[in-house]
Amino acid sequence: MPVGTVLLVLLVLWYAAAVLLNLAWERDQRERAGELAGTGLVTMVAATMSQKRPVLPAPHQVAIELIDTTFGKKLSSKRSLVHHTGITLASTLTGFALGTLLGVGLAVGIVTSRALDASLMPWVIASQTIPIIAIAPMIIVVLNAVGVQGLLPKAFISMYLSFFPVVVGMVKGLRSPERDQLDLMRTWNASAWQTLVRLRLPASLPYLFASMKIAVAIALVGAIVAELPTGAVAGLGARLLAGSYYGQTVQIWSALVMASLVAALLVALVDLTGRMVMRRSGGRA
């Protein structure tokens, strides 16, 4: 079980790091109380793993917090992690759907029109050179000024991040048919639309799903980043921000773990959908 071994090593390393990083505070506390000399090693190590605000919480502390805030709270409660995850998930999925649509649309334009190919692609690339952390607050503020609030501004930022891999993948996918296949379409006097629908789009499906796996993961990142400048009202981003305001490191870490679990789940779902679509359309996989 190499996977299990790696996991175990990581866990051991995490515990060791937690002990080392949290030790200074424990020593400091005991020194002030004059108890340092009388504290045994076992007590000290145990104490580093049960601090309220550790520099690095131990894995089991994160796990307990995660389970408690996931299953131990009412869904309507502001302390429920499920509540916050649901809010982030809603804007992630909305932004992902919009980003995929935008990405496919742009790719079709780029592949079918020479003018769009030359004019659009530089802008698509430029859009991704701007750090999202810089542009997100501005998008929120501008959209707020025109009366768009709530889910949509966050979804917009998810879309802004997630359309990019879809454009790149789909342009490659739509151009993937071989010359013979395109020539055949020409011998049948197929229109550009028929070539697109009957050949280019079906040929691009494997590329689309590969891109969508990346897109859905960064859509989640976009949604979390978008929650930071909104005043940290709700969502996983809000949990992260509130946690850092109040030094609640266990809360930060449990929100991080939840975010990565959700990302893994979303990527797996897209992968599964892709496999099912490929199998239905006669793929070997």
């Binding site: 071989e178 013979d180 296949q181 020539d183 055949l184 379409m185 020409r186 011998t187 049948w188 006097n189 197929a190 028929q194 009957r198 050949l199 079906p202 040929a203 499906l205 359309s281 006669g282 793929g283 070997r284």
Partner: protein, 267 residues
């Protein structure tokens, strides 16, 4: 060949055709002053070494390349008009079947593009798959078929359009010799049954001699016709004909033509 016939009465008529590409090293003459007639119902092979322009000539006939001089007529139309009228079917060396479609759906694809209704499509798919002995494979995907079967499916797809002319660009070039022999035999039977005109590009002397009523020997740099050889073999040709003196003599003529057309200094 029939000098002086009107182009409309011919399957293909090529007059003084030239095609040159501009490259960084100057103009490359892919085709130079080609004259050629293909009568209805003929089986014409283009044979020659790489770079002799045999595929390019076929692509000009199919309106996939534009000539820089001369004229081409296909069934009395320009290549562009012939393409729009779907007057020919094209078979490539690769079967070029779409992997996400079944065999039946692949054969139906050009018919869908033509806008034929479902019943007509189904009838033509069944008839043409039967013609290439692929009944029972309708619902298979291309990867489930051997290379030879895939190429038969692509021939059925070309025939389903019901063109008068079949253009075949080394259709069996990627297949092993046993399969190729078998498909050559089937192709002759198909040709006899359907009465189509066929233009066929090949590297193989024995394939050209076995299949053709007319063999066009081409030579490179510039791409041109070296010799046009009319076959005196009977139209009924079992595979054993390849051991007869008449066949061997004809193959020798083609070989001599290829050698003479091969300019000294070429490899």
């Amino acid at each position: 060949m029939s000098e002086g016939r009107s182009p409309a009465a011919l399957a293909v008529s090529v007059r003084d055709l030239s095609l040159s590409f501009d490259t960084a090293d100057g103009a490359v003459h892919a085709l130079s002053h080609i004259d050629l007639d293909v009568e209805h119902g003929e089986f014409v092979s283009f044979i020659g070494p790489s770079g002799c322009g045999k595929t390019t000539l076929m692509r000009v006939i199919a309106d996939l390349e534009q000539p820089t001089g001369g004229s081409v007529q296909v069934n009395g139309m320009t290549p562009g008009q012939a393409r729009q009228a779907r007057a020919y079917g094209y078979v490539f060396q690769s079967a070029s079947l779409y992997p996400w479609r079944t065999i039946a759906q692949n054969v139906a694809l050009p018919l869908q593009i033509m806008g034929l209704d479902r019943a007509t499509r189904a009838e033509r798919v069944a008839r043409n798959l039967a013609l290439v002995d692929l009944e029972g494979f309708e619902n298979k995907h291309p990867w489930q078929l051997s290379g030879g079967m895939q190429q038969r499916a692509s021939i059925a797809r070309a025939l389903a359009v019901e063109p008068k002319l079949l253009l075949m660009d080394e259709p069996f070039g990627a297949l092993d010799e046993i399969v190729r022999d078998h498909l050559n035999e089937q192709l002759l039977a198909l040709w006899a049954r359907t009465g189509k005109s066929v233009v066929f590009v090949t590297h193989s002397i024995s394939e050209a001699v076995y299949l053709s009523t007319t063999i066009v020997v081409m030579s490179p740099r510039p791409g041109r016709i070296h010799e046009i050889i009319h076959s005196d073999l009977p139209r009924e040709r079992p595979l054993e004909i390849r051991e007869t003196p008449a066949f061997i003599a004809l193959a020798q003529r083609v070989r001599d033509g290829l050698r003479a057309g091969h300019a000294p200094g070429d490899d």
